[in-house]
C-alpha cells in the first residue's frame, strides 16, 4: 500500500507554486552567483572593465603558482587547525566539568552558550578592544607583565588573537554538542568502569572519549567549515588580514582580491576552489557523520 502514504495534490501547479519562493531564493542567491563565479573564473577583464577575454584555466594556473595564494592557503590551514583544536579542546573540558556540576547545572550551561549569540564582527571588535595595543585592557596587562604585546606588528601575535577570538565564539557551539554527547552515554557504563577498577582519568580516555568519537568527528568537520568560511567577520574586524598577509585566509583573500584590488578573474577562481573544498567537506560529512552510529 505504498500509494496510501503518497500525498497527491489535486492541482498540478500548486506544488511548484509552494516551492517557488524557496527555489527563487536558492537560484538568486546561490546558483546564479555560483555560476557567475565559475564564468568569471575563466575570463580576464582589462583594468577598466571595458573588454573581457576568455583565458580557460589561466586564472587557476596563475593563482596556484602565486606565492601570496600559497601563503594564504598555509595561513588558512594553520588558522583552521588551531581554531578547531582550541575550540573543541576547551569545549570538551567545559562540557566534562559542567556534567559534574550538581547544583546550578542550567546556569552554567546557559552562560556557556551565550558567546554563540554574538555576531562575528562584534566578537571581533570585542577582542580587538580588549587586546588593542594602544587602548586594550588586556593588552595593557600583558605589557605591564613585561611581554612585548603588539598584534598590529607581530604576525604570530596577530594570528594568536584571531584564533582566540574565532575559537572563543565556537566553543559554545561545541560545548552544546559535547554536553549532549556526554548525556547520551549511559551512566551505568561509567559505573561499570568504576567497578572494573578504572580511575577517573582512565575512564575518560578508555570509555567516555571513544564514545564521544561520532560527536567529535562531526564537530571537526563543522569547525573546519567554520574556520574556513565563517570567520571573515572576525578577521576583518581584528586584523584586516594583516600584519602583512599574516592572517589573510583564503576567504579573506577572495574578498581582498575581488572587492579591494578588483582582480575579478583571480578572485572568482579562488572562490571556485573554495566551492570545491566545501563540496568535499560536505561529502565527508554525509559519508561518515550522517551514517548513524548505533550503540547498545
Amino acid at each position: 500500500m505504498a500509494s496510501s502514504t503518497h500525498v497527491t495534490f489535486p492541482n498540478k501547479f500548486l506544488p511548484y507554486l509552494l516551492l517557488a519562493p524557496q527555489l527563487a531564493i536558492t537560484i538568486v542567491f546561490f546558483y546564479w552567483p555560483a555560476s557567475q563565479a565559475i564564468r568569471q573564473s575563466v575570463l580576464r577583464e582589462d583594468p577598466f572593465g571595458l573588454s573581457t577575454q576568455f583565458v580557460g584555466l589561466g586564472n587557476f594556473k596563475r593563482i596556484l603558482s602565486d606565492p601570496n595564494y600559497l601563503n594564504s592557503l598555509q595561513v588558512t590551514v594553520v588558522f583552521s587547525i588551531a581554531t578547531a583544536v582550541i575550540a573543541m579542546g576547551f569545549a570538551l573540558l567545559f562540557a566534562v566539568m559542567a556534567d559534574k556540576v550538581v547544583r546550578g547545572k542550567g546556569i552554567y550551561r546557559t552562560l556557556m552558550i551565550w558567546p554563540y549569540a554574538v555576531a562575528p564582527a562584534i566578537a571581533g571588535m570585542l577582542w580587538l578592544f580588549l587586546f588593542n595595543p594602544s587602548m586594550g585592557t588586556f593588552a595593557y596587562m600583558i605589557r605591564s607583565a613585561g611581554y612585548n604585546w603588539d598584534p598590529l606588528l607581530n604576525s604570530n601575535q596577530a594570528m594568536l588573537l584571531v584564533v582566540a577570538a574565532a575559537a572563543w565564539k565556537q566553543i559554545s557551539y561545541n560545548f552544546l554538542f559535547f554536553v549532549a554527547g556526554l548525556q547520551s552515554i549511559p551512566k551505568s557504563l561509567i559505573e561499570a568502569a568504576a567497578i572494573d577498577g578504572a580511575g577517573e582519568t582512565k575512564r575518560f580516555w578508555t570509555i567516555i572519549f571513544p564514545l564521544l568519537a561520532p560527536t567529535t568527528f562531526f564537530l571537526l568537520v563543522v569547525n573546519t567549515v567554520y574556520a574556513f568560511f565563517d570567520t571573515f567577520g572576525i578577521i576583518h574586524a581584528v586584523t584586516g588580514g594583516g600584519p602583512g598577509k599574516a592572517t589573510e585566509t583564503l576567504v579573506y583573500k577572495v574578498y581582498n582580491d575581488g572587492f579591494v584590488n578588483l582582480i575579478l578573474g583571480d578572485s572568482a577562481a579562488q572562490s571556485v576552489i573554495l566551492m570545491v573544498i566545501v563540496i568535499g567537506l560536505t561529502a565527508i560529512q554525509f559519508r561518515y557523520v550522517e551514517r548513524k552510529v548505533h550503540y547498545g
Binding site: S188, E191, A192, A193, A194, I195, D196, G197, A198, K202
Partner: protein
C-alpha cells in the same frame, strides 16, 4: 568469597527523603540473597550502596567482615551485572571481559587464560571477537555475566539482570544464573521486582516495602508464613486473598454484615484481616467432617481456564477473590458456592496488617 553484613543501613537524600530506613541483613558466605519489592522500595539503592555507587548515610556495610563504607567500588572487590548490561559498546566481547583485569595490572597471558575460561563456561568462545551491538539480548546478558565472573570477586551484585529479556529467555537464564552461582559459590545479592524470580533464585529472601524490610527468610517460609498483608499480597501469583473482618463475642463478621461460620477459630483483635491462598479454598460438599475452618459464601464472577488449572474469580463479603481449581471448573457466573478455608491454611492479620 565472603559474607555480607548490613547493619542499620540508611540512605537519606538531600531534601530529607529517606530512601532506605535502617536495614539489617546478614548474608552467609556463598548464599544468594534476593531483594524483592515494588519499584521505589529502595532495593536498588541498597544494592548500589553495597556496590559503593551510592554513599551510605548511616550504618555499616561489611564485606568479608571488613567495613567497606569508605571504600570506592573498585576496592570492594565486587562485580555487578546491570539491568541494561552496561557493556562497553566500542569494545569487543573479549576486551569487555578483559577491561577490569587490565585495569588491575594483571599479566597478559593470565588475562587471556581467565577470559577464555569464563567464555567457555558461558559458551561465549565463538563470540569473543564481536562487538556488543552484534549480539542478541541473551548473549549480551551472558557477556555481562562473563565480565563479572572473570574477575573472581568476593561478591556478585545483580540489578534486575533479566528484566530486559523475553519471558522464555528469562526462565532459561534464571536457571543458568542459579547454577553458575552454585557452581562458583560466590556470595550474591540479586535485586528484582519479579516475585517468581525471587522465589526460585533465593537462598534468603528479603521483601522490602517503602525503604524498610518487611520480612527476611527462606522463600517457602515467607510464602507459608507472610509477616504482613504486604508480603502476603506481594509473594505468590495470583496473590493471597485478603478479606477485612470485624470480630465480636459471638464470632466474625464480614464487611457487608454477613456472619461467618467459624469453627475452632478465635480472633482477639476487633478489626482483622483474613487471608488465604487461591489454592487453599475447598468447595463444601456438605459431607466433610470439619476439623475447623471458615465457611463462606462465594459468588462467582467469571472463570478463566488456563489448561492445567482454572482461576475462578468471585466475591466474598464484598471483596474480590480468586480461587485456583485443578483441571476445569464447572462454575458459571452468578453461581453461589459454599467454600471452606481450612483452619491450618488460614492466615490472620491484625488491623495494622501484621500477622497475628
Amino acid at each position: 568469597m565472603a559474607s555480607v553484613e548490613l547493619t542499620n543501613v540508611r540512605k537519606v537524600y538531600a531534601g530529607a527523603v529517606e530512601a532506605v530506613k535502617g536495614v539489617d541483613i546478614a548474608i552467609k558466605d556463598g548464599a544468594l540473597c534476593v531483594l524483592v519489592g515494588p519499584s521505589g522500595c529502595g532495593k536498588s539503592t541498597l544494592l548500589r550502596m553495597i556496590a559503593g555507587l551510592e554513599s551510605i548515610t548511616d550504618g555499616t556495610v561489611k564485606i568479608d567482615n571488613k567495613v567497606v563504607n569508605d571504600l570506592g567500588p573498585a576496592e570492594r572487590d565486587i562485580a555487578m551485572v546491570f539491568q541494561n548490561y552496561a557493556l562497553y559498546p566500542h569494545m569487543k566481547v573479549y576486551d569487555n571481559m578483559a577491561y577490569g583485569l587490565r585495569n588491575r595490572g594483571m599479566p597478559k597471558d593470565q588475562i587471556d587464560k581467565r577470559v577464555r575460561e569464563a567464555a567457555a563456561t558461558l559458551e561465549l568462545t565463538h563470540l569473543l571477537e564481536r562487538r556488543p551491538r552484534e549480539l542478541s539480548g541473551g548473549q549480551r546478558q551472558r557477556v555481562a555475566m562473563g565480565r563479572a565472573i572473570v574477575r573472581n570477586p568476593k561478591v556478585f551484585l545483580f540489578d534486575e539482570p533479566l528484566s530486559n529479556l523475553d519471558a522464555k529467555l528469562r526462565g532459561q537464564m534464571r536457571v543458568e544464573i542459579k547454577n553458575l552461582q552454585r557452581q562458583l559459590g560466590v556470595t550474591s545479592v540479586y535485586v528484582t521486582h519479579d516475585q517468581l524470580e525471587a522465589m526460585t533464585l533465593a537462598d534468603i529472601l528479603v521483601v522490602m516495602n517503602a525503604g524498610a524490610v518487611e520480612q527476611i527468610g527462606a522463600p517457602l517460609d515467607i510464602y507459608e508464613k507472610p509477616a504482613s498483608t504486604f508480603v502476603a499480597s506481594f509473594i505468590g501469583a495470583p496473590p493471597m486473598n485478603l478479606i477485612p473482618i470485624t470480630a465480636d463475642e459471638s464470632g466474625l463478621i464480614l464487611k457487608d454484615g454477613t456472619r461467618i461460620g467459624a469453627q475452632g477459630i478465635t480472633v482477639s483483635d476487633k478489626d482483622a484481616i483474613i487471608g488465604f491462598r487461591p489454592e487453599d479454598l475447598e468447595v463444601a460438599t456438605g459431607t466433610e467432617s470439619h476439623i475447623g475452618g471458615l465457611l463462606l459464601d462465594l459468588k462467582v464472577l467469571g472463570v478463566e481456564p488456563v489448561g492445567a488449572e482454572s482461576y475462578v474469580y468471585g466475591i466474598i463479603g464484598g471483596e474480590r477473590v480468586v480461587v485456583r481449581v485443578a483441571g476445569r471448573s464447572v462454575s458459571q457466573p452468578d453461581d453461589h458456592l459454599r467454600v471452606i478455608i481450612p483452619k491450618e491454611k488460614l492466615h490472620l492479620f491484625g488491623g495494622n496488617g501484621k500477622r497475628i
